[in-house]
Symmetry: C2
Subunit: 236 residues, 2 copies
DNA sequence: ACGCAAAAAGTTGTATACGATTTCGCTGCC
DNA sequence: GGCAGCGAAATCGTATACAACTTTTTGCGT
């Protein structure tokens, strides 16, 4: 599925080296190898990928359009540090669009799609039982891929791109505000949703999706701890 | 309202000259002063705004992320020429998200917002009765602003940005495939939607919104006339 | 020793330069 | 007359250079 997602955008383009850098950094952010707030200086990025600052800058700009990095004028680019309010908006957006995407996907889903989804779930479960950071990161990506694949099946490239943005930003939010050591997504809920789709019970599938999103959000601690930095941090 | 929309993004940023160029070009595209397919060479854009190719390029890249221009490797940037399929996806996306946005907006709407919406409608009506291209362009923008303002009222900046993209791209689609000489949006339908909101009849408001979108789409001729260029163009 | 000011270092914003790729027009051949 | 091939012009992709701004360090005075 990963290849399918990429192919759709690749086509003739492979636009430029900047694209590759953008993708590499995005992956690093989504997999949480880069923490929110980390500074991404143009020179450093350029050196890291052996390109000039021009390309590094282009990649960072691109990521800022996706909301994954924030560039501050004359100060530089940082891995985005979503505020609690932003976090709420991200999940509100997901609650708003994912049921609709699910409905469209269900209308066009093929047996092949379903088996691919199942495969994804299996992989996810396997990673879940594994130990180690590598497995954890792969699991994070896999759980997002479930939602992305639904968007892909829906056949609407625009919604798919939007979901990619939302999933990526969700990962950032979870990295910042997530509490449970458990992974980002309740794995079993994904399976339930597929089952509901197979049973042609669309309303139930949507309801499950909403619950699922609410579940993820419930694991967050979005109390505005605005730096809490001075006295409060030390008076105990 | 225009100022409000801009202020929200301006804040401290005003990031750079590229942003201004991007906005100027976008406005030109949305108001249909630039037709789909028009070539936007980096040098030309740079000269036009008296900046280097660097900034022109950045602006064009930004617009390509919004789907308003398509850049082809080693060939240049063009005002986007959405395919019929893309057009359908754009409107499918709008049908998917606008009812949700409407619901959120209705939940937070204030009397002040309503009067602002009414004001927008009045302006729209006034422009509608005027003659001339300038009025036509202003009307196009105004009719889009109605949808954008609902997104703004909804309080979700992410959905707002997404709607901005969808409305802008819709304008392109209408420019390409629209048939009626009449303006893009049925003006009266906007008023009906506001009325339904005021009556707390959300379901009706959503239904009106869906009809409204369907209406716009119905005015399009999305038959794939694939260039129609060879024999068909001349055999009559 | 502390605080403030000025300079130095580092980083971003923009312009220019150069190599690579495409496009277009020309010449020459069929 | 038309088409293939070649060369020039235009345009894009990327690197480098310089100016403007920010941050840090240094040094002086109190």
């Amino acid at each position: 599925m990963k290849s399918a997602v990429k192919a759709q955008q690749a086509e003739d383009s492979a636009e430029t080296g900047a694209q590759q850098i953008r993708d590499a950094i995005r992956e690093a952010i989504v997999e949480r190898r880069l923490s929110p707030g980390t500074k991404l200086s143009e020179s450093d990025v350029g050196n890291l990928f052996n390109v000039s600052r021009t390309l590094a800058r282009a990649a960072l700009q691109a990521l800022s359009y996706e909301g994954l990095v924030s560039v501050e004028k004359n100060r530089g680019a940082f891995v985005a540090y979503p505020s609690p309010d932003e976090a709420r908006q991200i999940f509100a957006a997901r609650r708003l669009v994912e049921p609709g995407i699910l409905r469209e996907a269900a209308a066009r889903i093929t047996p092949g799609d379903i088996s691919q989804l199942r495969e994804l779930l299996l992989e996810e479960g396997r990673l879940m039982s594994e130990r180690g950071q590598t497995a954890r990161r792969a699991e994070i990506k896999a759980s997002g891929d479930f939602h992305l694949m639904l968007a892909e099946i829906s056949g609407n490239a625009i919604m798919q791109r939007f979901m990619e943005e939302l999933v990526a930003r969700s990962s950032l939010v979870i990295a910042l505000y997530g509490q449970s050591t458990a992974s980002s997504c309740g794995h079993s809920e994904h399976g339930d949703i597929i089952a509901a789709i197979e049973n042609d019970d669309l309303d139930r599938a949507c309801q499950l999706m909403l619950h699922h999103i609410a579940h993820i959000e419930a694991d967050l601690d979005l109390r505005a701890r605005k730096s809490l930095g001075l006295k409060e941090a030390f008076e105990l």
